[in-house]
Amino acid sequence: MLRQGRRMGDERPGPAVNPAARVVEPLPLIDVRALEKIYRVGVETIHALRGLDLTIGRNEMVAIMGSSGSGKSTLMNMLGCLDRPTSGVYLLNGRDVSRMGAKELAQVRNEEIGFVFQSFELLPRQTALENVELPLIYAQGGWRGRRQRALAALDRVGLADRVHHRPNQLSGGQRQRVAIARAILNRPSILLADEPTGNLDSATTIEILALFRQIHTEGQTVIIVTHEDEVAAHCQRVVRLRDGRVLSDVPVAEDIAGRHLDMIAARGTAS
């Protein structure tokens, strides 16, 4: 906790967001209002989101938690622009993305969102470098110097010596690092991670979470969707969902996840 707090205070650029005060910025990065999502499965209708409100500022590190059926996956799909809400407004960087078509959404995902998945989702026959370059294939321009950018991203995640390895030549942690490098390549507004440590052992989990924190410290907004308190404890702020609404939205110290903070601090000093 201390360690994390000091880092935030010392290094984070731009206007400071005080998680405890919950100050809403004039133009927040993510502004979600009265978000509803209704699925129709056969004759049944499922209310996945029921008027959810959420605001996330620039360079926050937020955990979104909830049991299955709480709507956290649906919310993640909305935040990641993979899906459109049935009603409500989602302003990303001030742009209303809740009414965009498939083509525009694809462009928003390409430029604004970096995804990290539980099962990494690397293309098996491509090298780490080629996997990292993938988003540039669909970029609108600026594809020159792609190699340098991809190499820089791999360097940031500590895989500068593994660029020509294929996924099956890498360990689970290394694969997730490649996926993170791919996600941060286009310098997205949001790094959106869905259970990023779900397929990793505890030692690797700590490494990957430390990497997320490092990237966050470098100025990146990070949202981690998880059901593990231990993962949430690495974030600054914990949003808990139930039945498609926000149940609680507090700084990590005030959340149940906060009880892991001492442990994380201890590990941090030990490593």
Binding site: N77, G80, L82, D83, A102, K103, A106, Q107, R109, N110, E111, I113, F115, F117, E121, L123, R125, E133, L134, P135, L136, I137, Y138, A139, Q140, G141, W143, R146, R182
Partner: protein, 413 residues
């Protein structure tokens, strides 16, 4: 619209996809391969045949014409008995004497006889009875001795012309002029050696030994009603149409055919045969085109099937690509490009096999296909057809891939 990197990766991905599933890709493309290979081979054979035939027509001469008996269409058989419509010697003489546009004309009648020289004996060789004009009509002259003259015909001299193969087969001296041989038991003096030209139409003479005697002599050796061919030369190819009319007029008058009465013979200039042959070749080419259409249809269904498999196998990959910003159009193009690449590779392999088959055709002895070759247009057309097959049959799987919901796709097992 898509950046160059997209095209680069889409094409390299298409090839790596084929490479990674080599045997599957081969089996899938087999329909296309077989279709393209068989069609290009057929077109190669046709091209070779056409070149050969046109060459032969060319060597025969463009101003050449033929006259032969022909029963009118739809006429009762007994109204025009064969012996009544056969060409008579007097009719050929009339053509020679009266047609101003005919440069030379000769009747040719063939009789099969045994030929002897010393203890050498050839049984059943074709002896042709000809006029001296034959030399001009066939464009064949003598290498040794002298050609036939009108005196040979008028005085029914027992003389003959032979060719080089006959010299060999009868074991005669290399210059046999003045030597006598027995034809059908009668003594004939060899007066000249005629040039050997290339084989006539498609091996019509099985033995290449040729012996010629004066027409008047051959006439005596034949039955009462015998068949003769008539070959002639017009003054020039340009006057062929008028020349035909002239010959027709003379023959109709000789046969006493009144106006409106059907013709009992045919006059045909060589260019007519060339036209007919070209039409026939074009027809066969069109049929070959139809076959390629059917085989590409069958091949295309295979392509569609395998692309559907590929889409369903790579659902998660599609989901990921969409998550990192691939538009539906980008996904559609990628899969379409993959289908087209597969088809083009199939087409390429097919052309390679077709080329091999065409090469094989040229090596078949006696098949007259030594000029078989795949023309450039057939290669280009094969590629175009293959690409079109890829677009048509790859479209449905590609649309399916482009419409996948990224969330569902990423959840796909």
């Amino acid at each position: 619209m898509m950046n160059p990197l997209f095209w680069l990766q889409a094409i390299s991905l298409a090839f790596s996809q084929i490479w990674a599933n080599k045997s599957r890709a081969f089996l899938t493309a087999l329909g296309i391969i077989v279709g393209v290979a068989s069609t290009t081979a057929v077109i190669a054979a046709l091209t070779g045949l056409k070149a050969k035939v046109l060459d032969e027509f060319e060597s025969v001469g463009a101003s050449k014409f033929f006259v032969f008996p022909d029963r009118p269409d739809n006429a009762p058989r007994n109204m025009y008995p064969w012996e009544k419509i056969l060409i008579k010697t007097a009719e050929v003489e009339a053509i020679r004497d009266e047609c101003t546009l005919v440069k030379a004309v000769t009747p040719i009648t063939e009789v099969g006889l045994d030929v002897e020289s010393g203890d050498k004996r050839i049984e059943g060789i074709t002896i042709s009875g000809i006029w001296p004009e034959w030399h001009d009509v066939q464009n064949r002259f003598v290498q040794e001795g002298r050609p036939f003259s009108s005196i040979d015909v008028e005085s029914e001299r027992q003389v003959c012309l032979i060719n080089a193969d006959a010299i060999v087969e009868l074991d005669l001296p290399s210059n046999p002029v003045g030597v006598a041989i027995l034809i059908g038991g009668r003594r004939f003096m060899i007066v000249g050696v005629v040039e050997t030209t290339q084989a006539r139409f498609f091996g019509m003479n099985t033995s290449s030994a040729e012996i010629f005697i004066p027409f008047s002599v051959a006439e005596k050796m034949q039955d009462r009603n015998f068949f003769m061919r008539v070959e002639g030369l017009f003054v020039s190819p340009e006057t062929a149409v008028e020349g035909e009319d002239e010959v027709r007029f003379v023959l109709r008058r000789m046969r006493g055919l009144g106006p409106g009465e059907p013709q009992t013979f045919q006059v045909a200039a060589i260019d007519k045969f060339i036209e007919q042959f070209k039409a026939l070749a074009a027809g066969i080419t069109a049929i070959a085109g139809g076959i390629v259409g059917i085989s590409l249809l069958v091949g295309g269904i295979g392509i569609m099937n395998i692309m559907l498999v590929s889409v369903s196998e790579r659902t998660r990959e599609i989901g990921l690509r969409k998550a990192v910003g691939a538009t539906p159009m980008a996904i559609l193009l990628q899969f379409l490009l993959e289908a087209v690449t597969l088809c083009l590779v199939g087409g390429f392999v097919g052309i390679a096999f077709g080329r091999l088959a065409a090469f094989g055709l040229t090596k078949i002895p006696g098949a007259q296909l030594d000029q078989a070759d795949i023309p450039f247009w057939a290669v280009a057309l094969s590629f175009v057809f293959s690409a079109v097959t890829g677009v048509v049959f790859g479209m449905f799987p590609a649309i399916k891939a482009s419409r996948l919901d990224p969330i569902e796709a990423l959840r796909h097992e």
